[in-house]
């Protein structure tokens, strides 16, 4: 956990994709033991191209057919379902009692996490694939209408919007005073969190899908130009960059001085956060586009199947054929691992 992340009110805030730099979705640092089998299986009825999140024993999963499912983590039974009007690719997030997610109908929805009732919605001009993030009572997200939105978490009332130079599919990292996000115009932006004013922008060589992580004064993000960047959070200056074999859509996970991300070249890379020096790289599939999740001594990634690698060496310690997608992230929760698949199944493995 970085100093910046530590400042966040952990109970209230959800400042980045999957809540924290390690992409653990707010779960503790669990070891991800090799599972022996499935405890339950839930069918969403359509492809899942987002990551599930777990809170108070309930798993929240969005599926492409527009549904947000609340699933009992113990039994696998449905608690409720909310149906949106468009396809959903957005990974949900949590702000107090609200489940937040974006939709292809151009809206971001806030749904009561206990009942599934809609609390509010914000309308944008194009699809929202990014995950909304929450900090200090505000919700932030980008839309394919080129705009960043800031809204009040309680009411959904828009505080400000800021137009950038391209479509936004990257999820914002909301620090105490600044926001960081990648953009389809190939730039990484630093914005003032209170006004949306662009403080700096740094170009890369192609559009950006990846969502940034923050480590100290470094913003870490991949680009479709095949490079992974570490930029100064105050100025946007590139401190170091690392080249992979194809584009990088995967969002980095950071723990201690290790930054892990995947590339479309099929490798998972672990770099030293401060220097960009390669610690290890391991081929885990034909293509990696999802973010990894860092557990206790392991890094897990979905890339066609599900892989667990020793975080110190990159050695694959187990793999499972389930979770066949390159777009979701496993939830590591004590003795249970939750997975979603491209074909729409959600599994609890133990």
């Amino acid at each position: 956990m970085t100093m910046e992340a530590a400042k966040s009110d952990a109970a209230r805030d959800w400042p980045t994709l999957l809540k924290d730099n390690a992409r653990r979705g707010g779960q503790g640092q669990y070891p991800a033991r090799s599972p022996e089998g499935a405890v339950w299986q839930f069918r969403t009825g359509s492809s899942v191209r987002s990551a599930p999140i777990l809170d108070h024993g309930i798993l929240y999963v969005t599926s492409v057919n527009g549904a947000l499912h609340a699933i009992d983590g113990v039994t696998g039974s449905s608690k409720w379902k909310f149906q949106a009007a468009g396809q959903v690719h957005s990974t949900p997030s949590i702000s107090e009692d609200r489940i937040l997610f974006g939709c292809d109908d151009g809206k971001v929805y806030a749904v009561n996490r206990h009942s599934g009732a809609k609390l509010w919605e914000i309308t944008t001009g194009a699809e929202v694939w990014a995950s909304p993030v929450a900090r200090n009572g505000l919700v932030f997200f980008g839309s394919a209408d080129l705009r960043i939105y800031a809204a009040e978490a309680g009411s959904g009332r828009t505080r400000w919007t800021q137009e950038l130079g391209g479509k936004i599919y990257s999820t914002i990292y909301a620090a105490e005073r600044q926001l960081y996000v990648g953009c389809g115009d190939g730039k990484v932006y630093g914005l003032d969190a209170s006004s949306g004013k662009v403080l700096w922008s740094t170009p890369t060589g192609n559009g950006i899908d990846s969502s940034p992580a923050l480590a100290g004064d470094l913003a870490l993000i991949g680009s479709e130009d095949f490079w992974f960047y570490a930029m100064n959070t105050s100025t946007g200056e590139v401190r170091w960059k690392y080249e992979t074999g194809l584009g990088i859509a995967s969002s980095p996970a950071v723990s201690g001085d290790m930054t892990v991300f995947g590339s479309k070249d099929g490798f998972l890379y672990a770099l030293e956060t401060q220097t960009g020096r390669l610690r290890w790289k391991t081929v885990v599939g034909e293509v990696v586009t999802a973010p990894p999740v860092i557990g206790d001594g392991v890094v897990c990634i979905q890339a066609g199947g599900t892989f667990a690698l020793e975080s110190a060496t990159g050695k694959v310690v187990w793999r499972a054929g389930l979770g066949g997608t390159s777009q979701s992230v496993p939830v590591l929760s004590g003795d249970t691992i939750y997975l979603a698949s491209l074909s729409g199944e959600v599994y609890a493995l133990r």
Binding site: S47, N65, N206, E224, F226, G245, E286
Partner: protein
């Protein structure tokens, strides 16, 4: 031909399909000929003179620029020059705008049929698609009237087209879409029972049947384990109709004649006015899905035609030549010993294949009037920038 066409197509090469196989088992599972294929287009659809084979039958423009791609990175400025040069050569116009204007009208709803199925190793390059969009927009077509589409949105996602293509342009995965333009038109179909499958119909995508008025086809340059190559014809046919994998059941394939027949169905035939093949990368074994770089060259080629048959014929020649240079068997080679059920073996050994390939689908499409397959009659013009 009546709109409700019944086509009794004989399968070219059926004798070689059966070579060396147990006569009892083959009699049980392998029809000697393709079954009757019923085609149903949109009734009373008025064919367009721009439809396949289009304004320039038999003419293929090939632009080569090795610097257009380096270490898998495609140069958009070089692609722009290649595209402009090819358009002017194809049409005889002196300006790129005039050349594009021969195919696209500002009032058109333009579909760009990409091939993302080999992403990320080999798919329609976003740099080429961006330049096509720029050219179409320069004619006055607004971004909201441009739709980039293919069947599976998860393959489109892997290539990050959403992020990399200009704002306002719609990106559609037909198969999973339930919003505007998604899904299939139940009254337009190809019906055939190849292997005793339950669902014998393949339906045309609604976006093709009803929404777009012109289609720019952007296939990639790849071999294909079932059809021999996947080029203009296969990209259109198997990317427009659903339920198509049923036409091949290892090791047999009825991609010939199904691919060509599908391309004759209106309005697909009339709306497909231009074919721009992305040969930045050339997959000479393992297509259509391989990610194995060992079999993917990066020659930096762009091919253009209104005649999909002529262009696919040139593609087939190029991939045959490459396979010969690398010591791989011909795509026409039907040796039962080369067939494997192990996809891993297929992906890593160029002498193996999953099916008896059917590159004859291109010549068969020529017989249907879709273009010129005789190499001697093809006006193949080589350019460099």
């Amino acid at each position: 031909m009546d709109r409700r066409n019944f086509v009794k197509a004989s399968c070219i090469g059926s004798a070689s399909l059966l070579m060396g196989l147990d006569p009892i088992s083959r009699a049980e599972v392998v029809p000697r000929e393709a079954p009757a294929i019923e085609l149903q287009g949109i009734p009373n659809y008025k064919p367009s003179p721009l439809g396949m084979p289009g304004s320039f039958p038999g003419r293929v423009i090939e632009v080569r620029e090795p610097n257009a791609i380096a270490s898998n990175r495609v140069s958009q400025p070089i692609v722009r020059r290649m595209l402009e040069q090819a358009m002017k050569e194809l049409t005889g116009e002196t300006s790129s705008r005039e050349a594009w204007g021969k195919f696209i009208d500002p009032k058109d709803m333009v579909g760009i049929k990409i091939n993302p199925s080999g992403a990320p190793a080999c798919c329609s390059s976003p740099e080429i698609v961006r330049e096509i969009i720029n050219s179409v927009q320069a004619l006055g077509v607004p971004p909201r009237n441009i739709v980039v589409y293919d069947r599976y949105s998860y393959e489109i996602d892997i290539a990050s087209y959403q992020t990399l293509l200009p704002p306002g342009v719609r990106i559609l995965g037909i198969q999973e879409a339930f919003a505007r333009g998604g899904g299939y038109e139940p009254s337009v179909y190809c019906d055939a029972n190849f292997f005793g499958e339950w669902e014998t119909r393949s339906y045309m995508a609604s976006v093709v049947a009803h929404e777009v008025t012109k289609i720019i086809n952007v296939p990639t340059m790849k071999d294909h384990s079932a059809s021999g190559v996947t080029g203009c014809l296969k990209n259109l046919a198997y990317g427009t109709f659903n339920n198509v994998a049923r036409s091949h059941r290892a090791p047999y394939s009825f991609t010939n004649p199904l691919i060509g027949l599908m391309c004759t169905v209106e309005p697909l035939r009339s709306k497909s006015v231009l074919h721009i093949m992305d040969g930045m990368r050339q997959v000479w074994h393992g297509g259509p899905l391989t990610q194995v770089q060992q079999f993917i060259d990066q020659p930096g080629i762009l091919l253009m035609a209104t005649d999909p048959v002529a262009l696919d014929t040139i593609e087939l020649e190029a991939i045959e030549k490459k396979r010969s240079e690398r010591g791989a068997p011909s795509l026409w080679h039907h040796d039962p010993n080369s067939i494997t059920g192990d996809s891993n073996a297929f992906y890593h050994d160029a002498s193996k294949n999953l099916f008896f390939r059917q590159p004859g689908h291109i010549a068969e499409a020529a017989k249907l009037g879709l273009g010129v397959a005789d190499v001697k009659q093809i006006d193949h013009r080589l350019l460099s920038v």
